[in-house]
């Protein structure tokens, strides 16, 4: 029995903009949930599907299997070869995107109202009847291996790989989802079927739909689209502590501009202090030109084109993370200023004016995100994955506004630990050496 569990017309009110979206929550007869926004003004539909787990489910010795499998979902299904599948998709003018991430397998589809039945039937075949033909496997494997070789010579990727390995070790977060030359070379068709069986399961699926379709119609199509998938997947990995201590690691690489990644342990998305930390980071380094890091490192000193800091609450680990790039001669100064700002924020916190500015930006900017079918669908599926209710879109700005100066400054002193910051630097930095 198709149920529409909830229909809320929500008005997101900021100091300025009001965004109105009507999220309908629907459950298919087979028990698959989706969030739907009916938006008939443009004759197309945006569909976002997520599966929790993804590359974190790679089996021992099979690193890269989920990523390669995901790349093969568009390479033939049912009785269609890769070229036949793509010819059919192009004739419908539908777009399907398949991407694997650390914890999330993402499927983004857009298709026209006029041929939505055919487009969904084609997408269904990709999801539930992939072929993993040997020639397609070999072709996509060569592309993945080329990417692995490219990353090995790209300063940003070299730094990222070193950072992940040092921070997360043997946990799946510690290595690239692409796998290694050895692991990817060894993957077989059977590995692809197994990765598919493990990663695309109904117990970990999240769906959102925005566009020219009714919630009722979405409920009816969900079982067709996803009902044939297995009920359950294998266990997810456990949590991992951030394992990198304070210091500097220099990786010698002959390139004119050094790239630095930095970070230390962070806090969870459902931590009661998350919003205080979020507002704090807006002042520290998330903001555009106004953040302290941008002001000090770029605007005042001209040391970089861009510097940012992020809260990174992943499913199994949390960190505060940042990146900056500067010429080999000046990266040491950029890092010094970054450390100083980290300490200043930890010790002094933010000013009332900075807090007010950050809040008005964050609450004003939030409704601006809801400005297209594809954007709204992505936001909604992301909310489902981290367990937020539809009402969150209404309440979110209240959470920001409720943050006090005392909260921010207490969290800044607890969260930011300048002596714990570790910088991984790739390049030929002058006046900078690895610690120990």
């Amino acid at each position: 029995m198709l149920r529409i569990v909830l229909s809320l017309c929500m008005i997101i009110i900021a100091s300025s903009a009001r965004a109105e979206i009507d999220i309908k929550e629907v459950t298919s007869p087979g028990g698959i949930n989706a969030w739907v926004v009916e938006e008939p003004s443009i004759p197309f539909i945006a569909l976002e599907i997520r599966f929790r787990g993804s590359a974190s489910l790679d089996l021992p010795g099979k690193r890269g299997a989920t990523n390669l499998m995901t790349g093969l979902l568009e390479e033939g299904a049912g009785d269609m070869s890769a070229q036949e599948f793509q010819t059919a998709r192009e004739a419908l003018a539908a777009s399907f995107g398949f991407r694997a991430f650390d914890d999330t397998l993402s499927i983004s589809a857009q298709f026209l109202t006029e041929n939505k039945t055919e487009a969904l039937a084609l997408l269904r075949q990709a999801l539930v009847e992939p072929r993993f033909d040997q020639d397609a496997l070999d072709r996509v494997r060569a592309q993945v291996l080329s990417g692995i070789a490219r990353d090995a010579k790209n300063p940003n990727d070299i730094a990222g790989a070193a950072f992940d390995a040092a921070a997360f070790g043997d946990h799946p977060y510690g290595s690239s989802i692409d796998g290694t030359v050895e692991s990817v070379t060894a993957l077989t068709r059977d590995d692809m079927f197994e990765a598919h069986r493990n990663a695309l399961t109904r117990d970990r699926v999240f769906v959102s739909v925005v566009g020219d379709i009714t919630a009722e119609a979405v409920g009816e199509m969900l079982d067709d689209l996803l009902g044939a998938l297995p009920d359950e997947g294998p266990p997810l990995p456990g949590d991992v502590a951030f394992g990198l201590e304070g210091g500097v690691t220099v990786i010698d690489y002959d390139t004119p501009q050094s790239v630095a990644l930095f970070g230390h342990a962070g806090l969870k998305r459902d931590d009661p202090d998350f919003f205080a930390a979020y507002v704090m980071n807006q002042v520290l380094g998330a903001g555009g030109f106004e953040s302290r890091l941008m002001t000090e490192v770029r605007e005042k000193r001209g040391l970089t084109y861009g510097i940012r800091s992020f809260l990174v609450p992943k499913f199994h680990a949390e960190m505060v993370f940042g990146s900056v790039a500067s010429a080999n001669a000046t990266i040491a100064e950029a890092i010094e200023v970054t450390r100083t700002e980290w300490a200043r924020m930890a010790n002094e916190g933010v000013t009332p004016a900075e807090l007010s500015m950050a809040k008005t930006y964050l609450t004003g900017e939030y409704p601006l995100r809801f400005d297209g079918n594809a954007e709204i669908a992505k936001i909604m599926v992301g909310m489902q994955m981290i367990g937020l209710p539809p009402e969150y879109v209404v309440n979110r700005n209240d959470y920001i506004d409720a943050v006090t100066l005392e909260d921010v400054n207490r969290v800044a002193s607890e969260l930011l630990q300048p002596e714990d910051l570790h910088f991984i630097v790739v390049g030929k930095p002058e006046g900078l050496e690895s610690t120990q």
Binding site: A14, S15, S16, A17, A19, E39, S41, I42, P43, F44, Q83, F85, Q86, T87, E90, A91, A93, L112, R139, A142, Q143, S146, A149, R150, A152, K153, P155, D254, T255, P256, Q257, V259, G287, G288, F289, E290, T295, E299, K300, R301, G302, L303, T304, Y305, G306, A325, A327, M357, T360, Y361, L362, G364, E365, Y366, P367, L368, F370, D371, G372, A374
Partner: protein, 443 residues
């Protein structure tokens, strides 16, 4: 208000669900105004486009257009340095800017009821920037770091710079937008001030406002803030050195140890979309799709990635959005064990076969369908529509040209494509570039 109405040109696109709603005006000082309505969300995109880009720079001052773009976020007579962006942020909006060969554009995305504040600030910095030597010194380092990040740290970007410099023998498109490093290092206040004084004027600008707005309200605000700024009477006619007939193909090998995988690029000079003359450009869009649009269904993809394992990646691309002569481009990344010369020969065989074969009717129809659908999908992104109009209007096209383009694309025939292929795919007007990590890979 009467004199306004005299200069008013309103063009409504057809009121179907597959076209944007556009209204245009021209202010008395020559400034063009384009209003695009989308009432789905209470958001507005305010964009000011100047008809000046890196290809308009004086000789020896490459990068000045982009450098000046950075400096527009510094102090004016009433705004402190950084106050522009801080004010946008305080009002819950985002702002930025970008520079290309043909245009420099500034934009804010913000709640629709803050449009007037955006116009007030944007119009202020059209004429009232107060550049200081200190700002110049600091921001010059920022743009040099930007060049480091985008270009110096990227062997592919450095290679591309070499190839484009060779493709254009006379036109400024051969000079990188961000500038040559040795000239960027010498840019000073005189360079930026002269460029600003000459080119930043209402008669050299296009205002594009898109989102939850009413055209008459936008016009009234535009009159109030931009309409009072006098036109620049010294504004030069936009004449750039054009390409001579090119008589010999050029070949370049770029060697950089940071290259992970050898690949090759072929760029041909190609005609751009021109006012009232977009037919060849439309045919080139199909040509790119047929030869190398999709790795599964294009001629290059089928021949080099499916029928044989010659390449792991193939592509053909073309964009007609350019004021002057643009490029039609191929890229091939050979498979393991395949030399660049073998990959290039295979690519050239595909091109030769295309010239002598008939075009498959089903593929034509599929591309036609996809182009038609792309118009529908594009309606979901009002900022994208605003960019499309802004770019076109600063690259000499009219609103009529922009709105005719989808229909022109639908009427392209196989004969049009064969004719434009024969004209454009002429090696005498091309540069072939190999990108390798060592000389041995170029053997």
């Amino acid at each position: 208000m009467k004199r306004l109405l005299a200069g008013l040109a309103m063009i409504f696109a057809a009121h179907t669900a597959t076209a944007e709603e556009v209204t245009t005006y021209t202010l008395d000082n020559g400034m063009e105004v384009v209003v695009i309505e989308d009432h789905r969300a209470p958001v507005v995109v305010h964009m000011l486009w100047y008809k000046v880009g890196s290809a308009d720079e004086p000789v020896g001052a490459s990068g000045v257009a982009h450098f000046l773009e950075h400096l527009l976020f510094k102090a004016t007579d009433v705004l402190e340095s950084g106050e522009f962006s801080a004010t946008v942020a305080r009002n819950g909006g985002n702002d930025n800017a970008f520079t290309s060969y043909d245009y420099t554009a500034y934009f804010q995305r913000i709640a629709a009821d803050r449009l007037e504040l955006m116009m007030q600030m944007e119009s202020n910095r059209m004429n009232n920037l107060q550049m200081t030597p200190e700002d110049i010194a600091t921001e010059r380092n920022v743009v040099l770091e930007e060049r480091n990040q985008r270009t110096e740290n990227s062997p592919n970007a450095l290679a591309r710079e070499q190839f484009i410099a060779a493709l254009y023998q006379n036109h400024r498109y051969g000079v990188p937008i961000i500038g040559w490093k040795h000239e960027m290092e010498q840019l000073d206040l005189d360079d930026t001030q002269a460029f600003y004084d000459l080119y930043y004027a209402p008669n050299n600008a296009v205002l594009v406002v898109a989102g939850d707005v009413v055209p008459d309200d936008v016009l009234a605000l535009a009159e109030k803030y931009y309409g009072v700024i006098p036109a620049e009477d010294q504004l030069p006619e936009r004449i750039r050195p054009q390409e001579p007939p090119q008589r010999a193909e050029r070949r370049i090998t770029y060697v950089d140890p940071r290259v992970s995988q050898p690949f090759l690029i072929r760029n041909y000079l190609a005609p751009e979309r021109d006012p009232g003359a977009q037919d060849e450009a439309a045919a080139l869009v199909y040509l790119a799709e047929l030869l190398g649009g999709s790795s599964f269904t294009s001629d290059l993809g089928q021949a080099l990635q499916f029928d044989t394992q010659t390449a792991i990646y193939t592509n053909a691309s073309y964009s007609g959005s350019s004021l002057d002569t643009t490029a039609f481009s191929f890229a091939v990344v050979p498979a393991e064990g395949v030399t660049l010369s073998a990959a290039e020969a295979a690519m050239d065989q595909v091109i030769a076969d295309f010239i002598t074969s008939d075009i498959d009717a089903a593929r034509m129809e599929s591309i036609r369908t996809q182009l038609r659908a792309s118009q529908i999908y594009a309606l979901d992104d009002v900022s994208g529509i605003a960019r499309r109009y802004g770019a076109a209007l600063t690259q000499s096209l009219t609103v009529e040209d922009v709105q005719a383009w989808p229909d022109i694309l639908q009427t392209v025939t196989p004969e049009d494509i064969k004719a434009v292929a024969a004209k454009v795919l002429n090696r005498d007007q091309s540069v072939t570039g190999w990108v390798v990590s060592s000389e041995e890979e170029a053997m």
